[in-house]
């Protein structure tokens, strides 16, 4: 991996962008890497565009400035495209994962990207079929692990299970794990 991986999460208030950044941070930290996870704090309103961030490195992270040039962008809500500037500051070889039922090629065209990599995942469908509610954040973590190879999926799930068990009932934990596993399998890259 790069010396320092910076990730920006785009979501809407209530979709779990902050929780995703924190769960990812905790799971990756449990494997010995150094992490940061933080949201952008503003007025908290359900449905309003929100941002959250991760930094991940094999070395201690001292930076305490905002993430301005993330190598990776995760979009939890397709309706943000064209409204939130999801490509802002992202280098040409940046990596995008978008929650949509469209193809990566369609998304590339919509975002006007020439370089980098685009992945898509129908996280809404997975979340409805596994968790039973439209919560796209946990499946998107599965897609992120597949596309970055930060950890093996087994290690990621083991670490995530610990964290989820601290927050949820056992059946909810299992449904979230299922969502992560399905997303890991179903994320689509470009041909």
């Amino acid at each position: 991996m790069a010396e320092l991986l910076e990730i920006r999460w785009h979501g809407r208030g209530g979709q779990g962008a902050k929780t995703a950044a924190i769960l990812l941070g905790e799971a990756v930290s449990a494997s010995g890497k150094y992490i940061q996870a933080f949201p952008e704090y503003g007025p908290e309103r359900m449905g309003a565009p929100v941002l959250a961030f991760n930094r991940i490195s094999d070395e201690p992270i001292r930076l305490h400035c905002q993430v301005a040039n993330p190598e990776m962008v995760v979009v939890l809500d397709e309706t943000l495209l064209g409204k939130a500037d999801v490509t802002a500051g992202v280098p040409d070889d940046g990596l995008y994962i978008i929650n949509t039922n469209k193809s990566p090629e369609e998304m590339r065209e919509q975002l006007g990207l020439t370089g980098g990599k685009v992945y898509t995942l129908d996280a809404m469908q997975i979340s409805m079929e596994t968790i039973g509610r439209p919560i796209p954040n946990t499946p998107m973590m599965g897609a992120l692990i597949r596309t970055t190879g930060l950890l093996s999926i087994d290690e990621f799930i083991a670490n995530s299970r610990d964290r989820l068990e601290a927050k949820f009932r056992p059946d909810i934990v299992e449904k979230n794990i299922q969502a992560i596993e399905r997303a890991y399998q179903e994320v689509q890259g470009e041909e």
Binding site: I22, G25, E26, S29, A30, G32, Y34, I35, Q36, A37, F38, P39, Y41, P60, I61, R62, L63, H64, C65, Q66, A68
Partner: protein, 394 residues
């Protein structure tokens, strides 16, 4: 050795308070400190601490109740931020004047108006002359470590002064990073049982606290407070030495980063020091002799040691996350300039950058720009703009 975990500053500080297990906590929630009180209230209701938790109606009452508990002989703590610290004002001075070793985490946040919840250092800088010891922290690890050390510093018989331990609002309080927490029993042993020498509930040895003290003795009692502050440096170093034995982590009066052979240096407080150290690393790779001094103990100010560490530099930039509105720059800059007045050798060129008010970001390019300015000053010996507002829209 303890395991590295992912944790926020507020969680780390609340964990330290759980391990310290104070007799009394009287606190009122205020963003971005709220979580500390919330987590600690959980520890109380879950029976994980023996603390008497006093819910109060304001920060003025929080500090008043803490003062009362401490005077009675309890190990008493509180926590606050920004407007909350401002509302504690008159009682801060009372805590110090009564020589009560209260320890309080303070999460740095801007003061109103305009209303803002984000980080700057205006709150604790305003309390710098209150008689409290002030210890600043770069990240969650330092906030945790400093809070544990603060117990021993405040309660030391040569000191007996209230102590605030600060960290940056949101950036550190809510940002998740990595830290190593010590085992509960190690912290318990380190902070020891609190055994005050004089206290109100010691009925065998009755004392008066807070008596009237006119022109006959007031001056002498305030002078004794100065003596106590004079003792702080040695105690801070002694406690740091013992803390290193249990943690492996080294603390001093201030943190020098690649400073010894540096020609130019930035002096900075709290989380921005982390970003600046990353910039130092990048510039050092290019062969530039740049360094950094991060303030840890700000009150009392270890001015002789700081001046000595900086006296051979060609130019220094002091970064302030608060303004004094004296038109002489930020509070740290003013102190640093006074500290450097008697330093040996040719006068060191100094400039001030006010940054980050109300949570405005300070990025690596801006810090690299400051080093660039410093190298020009070092080369020409000329300061054209002593005070710069970094990152403000003019």
């Amino acid at each position: 050795m303890s395991k590295r975990i992912a944790i926020t500053g507020n969680e780390a500080v609340a964990e330290a308070m759980r391990q310290i297990n104070p007799d009394v906590v009287a606190a009122y929630p205020i963003t971005p400190q709220t979580e500390i009180v919330q987590f600690f209230a959980d520890f109380v209701s879950d029976g994980k601490v023996d603390t008497e938790f006093v819910t109060v109606e304001s920060e003025h009452s929080a500090m008043s109740a803490t003062v009362g508990a401490s005077a009675a002989g309890a190990r008493a703590m509180t926590a606050t931020s920004s407007q909350g610290l401002a509302l504690m004002w008159e009682v801060l001075y009372i805590a110090a004047g009564l020589r009560l070793p209260i320890v309080a985490p303070v999460v740095n946040r801007a003061l109103s108006a305009p209303i803002n919840i984000h980080c700057d250092h205006s709150d604790t800088m305003g309390a710098r002359d209150s008689g409290w010891i002030q210890i600043y922290s770069e990240d969650a690890q330092e906030a945790y470590d400093n809070l544990i050390q603060a117990m021993r510093i405040a309660e030391h018989p040569d000191v007996l002064l209230p102590t605030m331990v600060t960290m940056d609002g949101f950036i550190v309080s809510h940002g998740m990073g990595n830290a190593e927490l010590l085992p509960d029993d190690v912290v318990k042993k380190f902070v020891r049982e609190y055994e005050p020498e004089h206290y109100l509930l010691d009925v065998e040895n009755p004392i008066t606290v807070g008596a009237l003290d006119f022109s006959d003795w007031y001056f002498e009692h305030r002078r004794q407070m100065v003596d106590a502050h004079t003792n702080v440096k040695d105690v801070v170093l002694q406690v740091a030495k013992e803390f290193k034995e249990i943690s492996g982590r080294e603390y001093k009066l201030f943190d020098s980063y690649k400073l010894d052979d540096a020609e130019v240096a930035i002096v900075v407080i709290n989380s921005a020091a982390g970003t600046a150290k990353t910039v130092v690393d990048k510039l050092r790779e290019k062969g530039l002799k740049v360094g950094l001094l991060k303030i840890r103990l700000f009150r009392p100010f270890p001015y002789e040691e700081i001046a000595e560490a900086l006296s051979d530099k060609k130019a220094i930039a002091v970064l302030d996350r608060a303004d004094s509105l004296s038109l002489m720059g930020g509070p740290l800059y003013i102190d640093l300039r006074a500290a450097m007045y008697d330093s040996p050798g040719p006068r060191v060129k100094m400039v001030n950058y006010i940054y980050g008010l109300g949570g405005r970001d300070l990025n690596m390019d801006q810090i690299a720009g400051v080093y660039d300015d410093l190298m020009k000053i070092a080369e020409t010996g000329e300061v054209t703009e002593p005070i710069t507002y970094l990152g403000v829209r003019e």
